[in-house]
Subunit: 193 residues, 2 copies
DNA sequence: ATATAAATTTTCTTTTGAAGAAAAAAAATA
DNA sequence: TATTTTTTTTCTTCAAAAGAAAATTTATAT
């Protein structure tokens, strides 16, 4: 996907699309960007790479940042529109060194450069684990029970229905406060930070 | 943020950071990318813009796509590391034309070009609403109760603990099957599609 | 259907800045 | 302190971007 031919064509198609959204002719974009009509044509037709300064001049009147511009390059969306999973179909996975931690994968999905993983975590009475870190963000919703969540040097007391959202690089671990099990919905937003 | 000086410096800093993650010296990246050490130095120091072909050559051994590369340009991260919300602190919001639908905002957060909104939705006995559409994806977890979820021309029957994840552009609406309330955790991933 | 105008593409030429080689400087190691 | 390694800077070359102008295509008017 970093193939030069693909990228030069993609850049051109994307600029043409963005110009189309504004309803501008080449001449209009040329006026606003100070890039010649001929050059814009060659770029849009994938004949040449713009230099960065030229690209920035083009994107400015289009009101698009580089992150916006490149964010959907290489993406293929063949998502059927929905994923439906029954409670009993969640697949159990147990992580190593995590006594009393029962993970069940609800679903995984990619979303705009972020990897989404949703799991249910059941903590038994004697659940015990060392702190861990992950690349990305994490959201915890306490479905049932009562826990303490250790996050770096802080500890949060969660009751049923409470939420915690945090940076996964902070060392973290939950602890069950009850003699019965506690159940958490855990959502990982895995991404480079 | 599309200022040339900013961008040339950002590109350089980003490449240096990525090279650092791999623990490579300039000479090592030069060997793998076929770009000269001198050129890499000038790029990393923000002295010159690479051309796109050169940038692609550099990113290939670093195993980074253009969307990954540019996705955090311009972002400011002043997230404190966590957001903790108690169940009783969720703010109730009621949407118009949604009789029997009680929404409570759990949290909102931006994440890599995706706007994250987490809510609890309580459907009363007579809850009724027209179908809606949203820009982005939606995840539903049934905390309590029994519902039917109409999604475009399909209907899903959800029991407690079941999940549904779908493209928000599909017209959708839930319906409570019980005489008592049903409660859903709803997560919106709002983004342009 | 034809002529004209508008828009875009292609060709030719110039300009410019990227890119590498080599020298110089800085940093690391012995 | 000396040597080696790594990085930066300077100098030079040249490749490709960039614009002007010509050619072509598309749209519009008659």
């Amino acid at each position: 996907m970093n193939d030069g031919k693909y990228v030069v064509a993609w850049i051109g198609a994307k600029i043409r699309e963005l110009r189309g959204l504004k309803g501008w002719k080449l001449g209009e974009l040329s006026e606003k960007s100070k890039v010649s009509i001929a050059m814009l044509s060659k770029i849009e037709n994938g004949r040449v790479f713009p230099t960065f300064p030229t690209l920035l001049h083009i994107l400015k009147p289009l009101d698009v940042d580089l992150n916006d511009f490149f964010e959907d390059i290489g993406q293929s969306q063949d998502f059927p529109g929905y994923i439906f999973n029954k409670r009993e179909d969640y697949l159990e996975t147990t992580k190593e060194d995590a006594v009393g931690f029962k993970y069940e994968t609800v679903l995984t999905q990619n979303l705009k450069g972020v990897s989404l993983e949703i799991s249910m975590l059941t903590l038994s009475k004697n659940a015990k684990r060392e702190t861990v870190t992950t690349d990305g963000y994490e959201y915890i919703f306490l479905l049932k029970g009562d826990i303490e969540y250790q996050l770096d040097d802080k500890t949060f007391h969660l009751k049923e229905g409470d939420s915690l959202y945090f940076d996964g690089r902070l060392p973290h671990v939950p602890k069950n406060n009850l003699d019965t099990e506690s159940i958490l919905l855990v959502i990982y937003f895995i991404t480079e930070l």
